[in-house]
Amino acid sequence: MFGYYLELAWRRCRQNLSMMALLVLTMAIGIASFMTATTIFGALSGQPLPGISNHLYVATMDARQTVDKDNNTYDTPQSLLNLRDARALIDAHRASAQFAAAQSVTTLATSDGKISSLAIGLMGYGPLMSTLGVPLRDGRPWTQAEQAARAPVVLIDSKLAQKLFGTTDAVGKSLQMGSQSFRVVGVTAPWKSRTQFLGLTQNSDGPLSQDMQFFVPVGAALDAGVGPISSGKCGNKAPVISFQSTDLGHCRWIETWVALDTPAQVKAYARFLDGYARAQHDAGRFAYAPHARLYGTMAWMDVNHVVPDDVSLNLMLACGFLLLCMINVAGLLAARFLRRQGDVAIRRALGAARRHVFAQHVVEAGLLGLIGGLLALPLTLLGLWIVRMQPVSYAAAAHFSLGVFAGLVALALAVGVVVGILPAWRVCRQPPAIQIKLA
């Protein structure tokens, strides 16, 4: 039966080619614009580290140590903390895992200085690697003892190891970073999060993340004169410093992240955080009431607008447009089906049940949808290509994948069927006698 309906649909499609082209093209444009917008939105939203960042929370508080007359209010939550506070929070061990981190850019070189590379990485305090799930190829993370002794140890990713040493087997080798020689204790696989979520307030270069090429304990890095990219926010009485400074005693520049598994743990940690911040305020270290608060990864990304407004606006525009195309096609299909009421009436008179007529028309609509989807494929590729050509920070997110293709086919079929239901129902409701008479 299904095959017969398909054949009927195909035959009818060929009868009125211009009408059919209009229908299919409208569907194709609607589907393609929707797919383009969702591909980009999908790449930029969602958990930055699936399965891991779901349990991560960032500590925020008003940790200013001097009064700032121009900005007495605390409108936006601040995740940047003084290293002293970050250390205190981590050394308290109140969460299941916790670390502090800040991004750094510096030159790493072989000991003889012959090969060097500018690299971006994380300076951290606490079990950064295991909490973030950075995959280790070789070696080990830095130990608690090395961290406490400010031992010059570093982990690099396999690409950087290849570049510097000509091999990924770099554990035990030495490299020059800042003013000191660091020992490589581990080699990681290339690693980055899907989107930026660490150090959001300092990075404004778009939502996409880069490979983190090295990981170094913060104490040893500062000793070697390697500072974070941005010195964050410094007290207004402190000496003014610029980028890559290590004179950070008065500055808030490092973020504290904690892993918490249950709502009860989150609640308990929030209470601990609030208690810590209040104690600092009472002791006179924090100049303002601290408003300490925990943010989950997604909430934090939301607050910092990681997904650019344009991307979500375009998605909404595309949704509206797809809906418009669907209503359009539904109307045109209804006109197309109802014009053939005569045929339907004869089929009905010859014994076809209503549901047969209904099924036949839905199959026809579904077929048109699929053809539309087929046409939407090159259009989607074109749309993504156009986005990649744009001077926007998220251009690299516009990539076609198998998932996108599967989504497209499913969407095309669904659009065809949904759009066909109303006209099909309308056409099978006509009483056959009147129609035969009209025909």
């Binding site: 980028f243 400074s245 359009n328």
Partner: protein, 411 residues
């Protein structure tokens, strides 16, 4: 009227689909056009810069560890000034179209409550280097120009030059020159005397949809202190070649400041024309996208309404024949169908306008967008009503040519 409404109510599906489609198209088109206008603003606003091809901008000169000393910046500016073919040099905290570093403040007219959100460019010789057109008052004196600011410059008192737009806002009555504005509040307030007014100068914060007047700008004199990322502006003499001067500018800055710049961030040298082009590229791309979307929406709607109306009219061929037989003229039939279309599309437009407004309200709450000006609503309505009339014209003309004899067939 009744003879139009009644048949519509009897066969509801087709008119209903048209209403739905028009409403949706209207809501999308109004909001897309509004977004488009927002993105178009920085492209169309006059930036006030004279001869953009003869202005070189060097920016992203970021110091490592400590901010630049003002004396060092001044020496660099002097070295640039000594280059052949250079007419004027500015060292500034930031310059127009340098979107990385932006200064803004809320200047308040002394003795009144009028306040504005304005951008500020702090630097030396800005009027001359940028080629601004002074419409009242004077430029800063050499002494004022080369003042070394202790901080960036906001907390110091002294002279200020503002744009005509900002002058009109702060001092709606009378001349601005000689008047006082206040920057900051409390005991931190800086008192600035307006010494000159320039025709235009665009701010480097495009607002991205926020309600900002792009021409509210101030010029503060002096070299910004405690500042890690200054820009240099170099005005090239009209007779000189910009390319070759740019090469020398690059060499001088590299020689004078290169040893203390941040690792991994390199200074950028552009002509102002190029810089403007890059800074506005994103807005331009968005304009094309939104214009494309609006056009496709309108086209799809036109095709849809046309297809549905064609069927809806064709179905009534016999009734039209009867009307013609009973004495209706061709014009009556045409009018009847056009009126019907006006009614159907009109009700769609009404729903669409309400939807457009609600969508805008929702967007305003969730994104940094401003309110849809009411002028967009009649504009959108006119557009779609015209579209509807265009769509019905073909089918209606065809229907009006139905001969009365059709009525006598197969009743």
């Amino acid at each position: 009227m009744r003879h139009i409404v009644k048949p519509l109510l009897r066969h509801r599906m087709m008119p209903l689909l048209v209403v739905l489609q028009v409403a949706l198209a209207c809501a999308i088109a109004c909001n897309a056009l509004f977004l488009l206008q927002q993105k178009l603003k920085p492209i169309l606003t006059s930036d006030g810069i004279g001869q953009p091809g003869h202005l070189i901008v060097a920016w992203q000169i970021v110091s490592r560890g400590k901010p630049w000393q003002t004396s060092r910046l001044e020496e660099t500016a002097q070295a640039l000034r000594a280059l052949p073919g250079v007419a004027s040099v500015s060292v500034a905290g930031s310059l127009p179209m340098v979107t990385q570093a932006r200064f803004s403040a809320n200047p308040k007219a002394a003795g009144s409550d009028i306040q504005a959100d304005a951008a500020a460019y702090i630097g030396t010789n800005l009027v001359k280097t940028l080629g601004l057109q002074l419409v009242a008052g004077r430029d800063f004196s050499p002494g004022e120009q080369h003042h070394h600011n202790k901080g960036v410059g906001f907390h110091e008192s002294g002279p200020v030059i503002i744009t005509q737009a900002l002058a009109d806002r702060l001092f709606p009555r009378g001349k601005a020159v000689g008047r006082i504005i206040h920057l900051g509040q409390g005991d931190n307030v800086a008192v600035r005397t307006v010494v000159g007014v320039v025709a235009h100068l665009m701010r480097n914060d495009f607002g991205n949809g926020k309600k900002l007047d792009l021409d509210y700008t101030m010029l503060l004199p002096g070299i910004p202190g405690q500042w890690p990322m200054p820009s240099f502006g170099v005005r090239v003499a009209e007779t000189s070649n910009t390319r070759s001067v740019l090469k020398h500018v690059r060499q001088v800055i590299k020689r004078m400041l290169g040893t203390d710049t941040v690792q991994g961030i390199h200074p950028v040298y552009d002509t102002y024309a190029q810089l403007r082009d890059q800074a506005l590229a994103q807005s331009r791309a968005a304009v094309w996208l939104l214009a494309g979307v609006t056009l496709v929406v309108l086209f799809v709607t036109l095709a849809g309404v046309m297809g549905m109306t064609a069927y809806w009219v064709q179905q009534r061929t016999r009734q039209i024949g009867i009307r013609r037989a009973l004495g209706a003229s061709k014009r009556d039939i045409l009018r009847y169908l056009q009126g019907e279309n006006l009614l159907v599309v009109g009700s769609g437009v009404l729903i669409g306008l309400a939807a457009a407004y609600l969508v805008n309200l929702w967007l305003m709450r969730h994104y940094e967008l401003s309110r849809l000006p009411w002028t967009y609503l009649p504009l959108g309505a006119m557009l779609l009503l015209a579209l509807g009339q265009l769509a019905v014209l073909g089918p209606a003309l065809r229907a009006s040519r139905v001969p009365p004899v059709v009525a006598t067939r197969s009743v």
